[in-house]
Every structure is written in C-alpha cells, then in structure tokens.
Amino acid sequence: MTEPVLSIKDLVVEFPFRNDVFRAVSGVSFDIMPGEVVGVVGESGAGKSMTGSAVIGLIEPPGHIASGEIRLKGERIDNLPEEAKAKLRGRRIGMVFQDPLTSLNPLYTIGEQLIETIRTHLPLNEAEARQKAIDLLTEAGIPKAAERMESYPHQFSGGMRQRVVIALAIAAEPELIIADEPTSALDVSVQAQIIKVLKKLCANHGAAVMLITHDMGVIAQTADRMVVMHQGTVVETGTVGDIIRRPQEPYTIKLINSIPTIQRQAGDVAPEAAANDDGAYVQVKHLVRDFEIGGGGFLKLLPGKVEMFRAVNDVSFAIEKGKTFGLVGESGSGKSTCAKMIVGLLRPSSGQITVDGHDIWAGGAGHKERRKRVQMIFQDPYASLNPRWRVADIIAEPMRTLGLARNRTEVDHRVAELLTRVRLDPSVMRKFPHEFSGGQRQRIAIARALSSQPEFIVCDEPTSALDVSVQAQVLDLMQELQDEFGLTYLLISHNLAVVRQMSSAVGVLHNGVLVEKGPTDAIFDNPQADYTKMLLDAVPDISRVA
C-alpha cells in the first residue's frame, strides 16, 4: 500500500474568545494519495478553509490546532517550529488562493516573482530559473511567455493572473497543492479553463491536490474523491461519482438535492414560453446606455472630446405577465446596468421601457406608475438592509413612502403579514438586520420588495451571495410568491442553472449586446449563438460528473 501524501487525523482547530471557545474544525480525518485530486466541499462556516490553513500552518492567532495530527508523507508537520513550517510552504506544499489580485505582488514583474520563488526552493542559477519560469508559464497556457515575463500583474486579466498563481504554486515541484476556491472569483468561461490548467499541471508534475470549494460543479469536473464537511466535521467521504449519484448521509442528500443543474430534471414541466412580444407586460425596446470614461469634477467643464463606453447596446426583450425572464451574462456584460435602468436608478441614453403600457422614463407620471409596480431584490443581503433600522421599519418603508398604510397598527399588521409570507416569525420585526443570517436577510429583503404590492420585481443575482441549501429555499420562496401574487420577474444571474430552473424565457447578454433570446428550453437545448454554446459548455455542473 502506498503512503498517503497528506494524512489528517482527528484535527481540531479552536478559537478561544473572551468567554467561549469556538471549534472551527472538530475531529476531521482524511488522506490524500499521491497524484490524487481531493475536493473538500461545504457551505460557509463548514471549516473547509480552516482545514487548509491548518495544513500549511497559517491559522490566524488566536486560533490554534488543539489536537490531532497532520502528516506529510508520513512526517508530522503540525507541531514543527515556525521556520520549518515556512520551509515546507512553497517547497513541498504549494498554494493557490481565491483572489489572484491579492496573491501576486503588484510591485514586481511576473518573471521576478517566479524566478525568486524558484531560486528560493531549487538550486538553480538565474538563467536556469528563468528558463524554468518560461516553461511553467507556457505550460500554464500563457501565450508568448518569454515576453510576458516582464509584465506586471495588473497587465494580466483575472484568468491570466490565476494561471500565473498556479505556475507559482507548482514552481518548486511540491508534493501537494492546496487550492482554496481557485475559481470562485472568475467568470464561468474563464473558470473552465483554469480548472483544466490546474488539473493538467498537477497531473504533469505528479502533485496531489486538495481542492477547497463551495461549488459542487467544480468538484464534479475536477476531483477524484471528495470530502463533504459541515459545521467543522466530515460528513461523508467517497469518490465523486458515488457521492453525487448515491449520497448516503442526510446532510449530503439535502446538499446534492438543493444544487440546481442546467439539465432539466425528469418530471419538471417546462414553463410556458412567451408568446408574442407586443402584448407583453414589460417591454424593453432598443435600450442603450453610454458611460463617459474618466474625468470628473472640474475636468468636465473643460472643452474637449469625451470618450464614451457603451455598456448596453440596443437591448430589446419582453416579459409576459406572471412569467420569469432570465438575463444571463458574465461580469461586464451590462446585465446590472439593464436592471438599474428598468428600476429607475439610471436614465437610459436611448430606448424605451414600458411596464403595463406606461413608459417609466416619461416624466413624473411615468415615475409614479413605475414606483407603484416595480420593485427590486438585490444581490448582497448584507448591504441591501440599512444596518441602523429595525426590520419593521425596513419592511414598512415602501408602504409609508407610497402612502399605502397610514397608521401604526395598520403598518404593524401588514409587516407581520409580510413576514409570515416569507416564512419568518412576525416577532422578529423589533430586531436589527445583523441578528439574521444571510438567507434570513434575503427573506426580509423580499418582504420589503413585496411591501409596496408590486407586480414586477427585478431580481439582480438574488442568491449568488448565499449557500446552495439556502439558495434553494429562497428560490422556492420566490416561486411560491410568484404563483400566489401573479408576480412578473426579471431574473438577472451569472448562474445558468438557477436561470434554467426559474425562467420561462432567457436572454444572453455579452458585452452589452443581447446575443440570443428565446424560450428557456430552446436556448439551453439548442443554442444558436457561439457565445451561448461556449457558455453552456463551460459551466461546471454536477450532471457532468467525471
């Protein structure tokens, strides 16, 4: 039997607080064999990143390893002195972090950073190290690597930077790579490339990988085995195929079931597609928005040419009453700009938006009609609720502003009713937002949106800040409320699986242009535009388990 590269046994990580001890990791054990890719999955707070930090010996004080042991090739590393641990990092354990912006030093060129890392760990001279650096960059898929050696990190895109980080991690030929959410900050299409690079490089160099992520799709496409963590403990361990197809533990079953997939599941009825555009409830016609680039304040008063950037370019679509239209796109595609114009936060440069026949940008009357009918649910439930207001006041604000309820008892009564609708206890109305979890806050945000009795709700990434199991609950709630009140949704998301599950029609936005629109099933099963095809291919999905 071969010896595991990494062996974790009964690991406990504790954080002592003023009058309490918090166990971030309690009794975690698993092994990683040579050349194996092991995925560590879990929702936020599961202790997966903390396990990674424990292995590389970088737990933030006052946190510490309370008991258990970590062995690298049979040799115990958790109790080594600090200098010995520092020697392990980079040499025998490589690291790839989530944010490629912060894991590279902005003041040094890519070449300098690579050569420094190589020479610190390997007995090579400057020229040899340089050659090795170029080889590594080429291997990581950076074109014209020799020329790019003199570039600074800011001259690279996010995906390119993450390739450099992977090259850096693999530079000293470590036995183990720890990758903590290596693709979470990247767009779907870039994510797919990075996963391939990571997998290829580790296979070529014989490094085992501990892949920490919340994204089951990434694991499904990358890992051999997976470890499911929940509240600091290991719930289930097994091969990726086994766990995804036949989860054993109740928590894993719940987790797997709550992950939306881009495949239509058997038994699901496809929502009816939009019939014709002209009679639709919401109509967006030839929407354009330009932004001025650079210059502000007094500079604007100077004469001269102003450079313009077109964020949204001639976008048209329509939404039937009571239906959901999904707007899909990667970062910078202009989907949030569209949302802002539709809810009245940003004036369109040209084009028309009508809701229920009213042009919402047509003067005071249009604004009035819009406020009555349109509401919005935001991405980040931590920023969308004023931290200084009580829940009751937050939910009551729309009805007070629009004069829907006047006296205190009426307002309280309505707030209590709304809280019940979003499956929260009415007694929470005296609390402040910080006393709630992310999912509960999003429910409060939904209650606020419903408070003005809108007919049309724009949802901008409503679940992308939430854990999958919470995401499933919030999406279910949105669906129930739609059925109950006949709401019309515009669902904006980068998550194709969520859009497939929720929408009856879909539009795909790319660099401000709507490249494709149509009924959901038609787009997902038979995409026409090249960009849509590429996007659908790139999505890591649990249905594509290796």
């Binding site: 919005m376 920023a383 937050i394 206890d425």
Partner: protein, 319 residues
C-alpha cells in the same frame, strides 16, 4: 450557517434590562475595561469637566466679584495663608484672585468655546460632506476644493483671519459681549473641513449600497435619504473626529486667548490665565502660570486619548 425559518424569540418583557446587559457585554465596553490609559483619561476628563460645570457652586472663591477681592491676598504661594489670613491651596495671582477658582471658571470658558466650536464645525462639516458625497459632480467639486484650500492653511491662521474680519464688522461697544461668539465662529469655521472630508468619503461608500438604491427606487426624497439612511451610518467616524477635534478646539482657543485676541480679560479662559501668568514666571511667582498650563495640558491630553481609544475601538481592523 443554518437558515432557520423561525428564529428563536426573545421575551419582550425584559427588553430594557437585556439591552443594558448586551451593552455591558459589547466590544466597546470590553475594550474600555481593558485599556487602563483610557480609564485614567476618562476620569481626569470627567473631573475637569465637572469642576468647570459646577464652578459657581463648588469654587472656594468667586474671583470675578470685586467685592471679595483683596489686594492684600496678592501673590500668595500655594498651600499657605495670605497676609489677610485666608488660605489658598494653589495660591493667588497679582490681584489676589484664587488660582484654583480662576482655573475652574477659566476651564468653563475654554470648554464652552471648545464644545460649541466643535459642534458648529461638526454640523457644518457633516452637512456639506453629505451633500458633496451624495450629489457628487459640481457640488462635490466646489465644496471639496474650498475644503482643500482651507486645509492647506494652518487652522489657527484661518481662525485669526476670521476673528479679525468679524471684529472689524462689529461695532466697538458690542465687541466685548460678542467676542466669545466670534471666537466660536472662527474656530468652528477653521475646523469644518476635516468633518466634511471624512463624511464625504463615507457617504460615497454608503450611497453605493443597495439599501440606498432601494429607497431611491421608491422615490424617497433625497433629503430624507440623507437624513434617515446615510447620516446614521456615517456617524461613527464623525464621533471620533469630534472628540479629537474638541481637544484641538480647546488648544486653539487657548492659543488665540494667549495671543490676546480671544475672550476678553473680564472673562478669562485658560489661555488668558496663561498669558497673565507668564508675566510673573521669572519673578518667582511660578504658580500663576503653572497650574492653568497643567490644567490645559491635562484637559487636551485626556480628551485626545479618549478620541484615540474611540477610533481604535470603533475600528476592529486596528485591534
């Protein structure tokens, strides 16, 4: 993190006591109790402020009532009896005024000017900062450029300038009564820019947040948004600058009064007392200068230390 559909209820009955208990358990109380310097500073500041506020009732003498003054008491050293047989713990000045009492009455003036000027600077700076940060564009450009120009001059110079101009505008027979208000105006105007800058930055951050967008979608009046949504969320840093600004304002007042352009000698502040005292320093009557000067240092230092602590306590990243 679990997402409970029904979060556990708390009994409404004990709300008041439990809120007090939550406060006692909060980070800010913890950080106060674990900072001996802050505890000492707050006690010193509290004692000095109480002495000033309660001066008319607890001061041993009224130094500004000519009927009780006796030139025979003049130049009494600390902790001794005068020729007239009265006891003075900190001695007397040339006119026989009790130094302890003049300090108590003087701190009253210093603190009044300091608090009022800081409040004035705070209201003006926060208001302009909110407008600049929220409206942006030309409003922001004009307000912030004025602030930048002002920040490039020493505050004391600005205060002197405003003081001079204001004095020129007021008829001579009203100057004495108006002097203290002119002083407050001058120090306040010299210090608003700090507040405006900080509040502008914080406002720009807050206005991007979704809760402000949610209010804008509803068509809430921008003034109401600023007042009810943005203002409560930018007050943390304002309190910190306000505390440190109070110490600065007290020193600025003392400087102006020391230079003889501050409050009139009939209403001496700590700065005036120091000016009077320095005449006697080299003739051996050191106490007339030393005690007011020590009081000023203690007051400014303790308030400044409180401000420093507040800044650290409200900013978890520094801990």
């Amino acid at each position: 993190m679990t997402d409970l559909p029904h979060s556990p209820e708390q009994p409404v009955v004990a709300a008041k006591t439990s809120r007090w208990r939550t406060f006692l358990k909060s980070d800010i109380v913890w950080s106060y109790r674990h900072s001996p310097v802050t505890i000492v500073a707050s006690i010193v500041a509290l004692v000095l402020i109480l002495m000033a506020v309660l001066a008319p009732w607890i001061a041993p003498y009224n130094p500004f009532n000519p009927a009780t003054l006796n030139l025979m008491d003049g130049f009494t050293p600390p902790n001794s009896n005068s020729f007239a047989g009265r006891y003075f713990i900190l001695g007397t000045d040339n006119q026989g005024r009790d130094v302890l009492s003049t300090i108590m009455y003087g701190s009253r003036v210093s603190l009044f000017v300091g608090f009022s000027a800081t409040l004035f600077a705070m209201v003006m700076g926060v208001g302009l900062g909110l407008v600049a940060g929220y409206l942006g564009g030309i409003w922001d450009a004009v307000i912030m450029r004025v602030a930048d120009v002002q920040l490039s001059f020493p505050a004391i110079l600005i205060a002197l300038l405003i003081f001079g101009v204001a004095r020129g505008l007021i008829p001579p027979n009203q100057q004495e009564g108006a002097a203290i208000w002119v002083l407050i105006l001058a120090i306040g105007l010299a210090n608003w820019a700090q507040f405006a800058r900080t509040v502008r930055g914080a406002t720009m951050v807050e206005r991007q947040k979704d809760y402000v967008s949610a209010a804008r979608i509803l068509g809430v009046n921008p003034f109401i948004i600023l007042l009810r949504h943005v203002l409560p969320n930018v007050m943390g840093p304002v309190l910190v600058i306000g505390t440190i600004g109070l110490a600065l304002a007290i020193i600025e007042e003392a400087t102006l009064s020391y230079l003889g352009v501050g409050v009139p000698p009939t209403q001496p502040s700590l700065g005036t007392l120091i000016r009077i005292g320095q005449q006697f320093l080299f003739s051996g009557e050191w106490w007339i200068l030393l005690f007011p000067a020590v009081t000023l240092v203690l007051l400014a230092l303790s308030v400044n230390l409180l401000g420093d602590w507040l800044r650290d306590a409200l900013n978890p990243k520094l801990r």
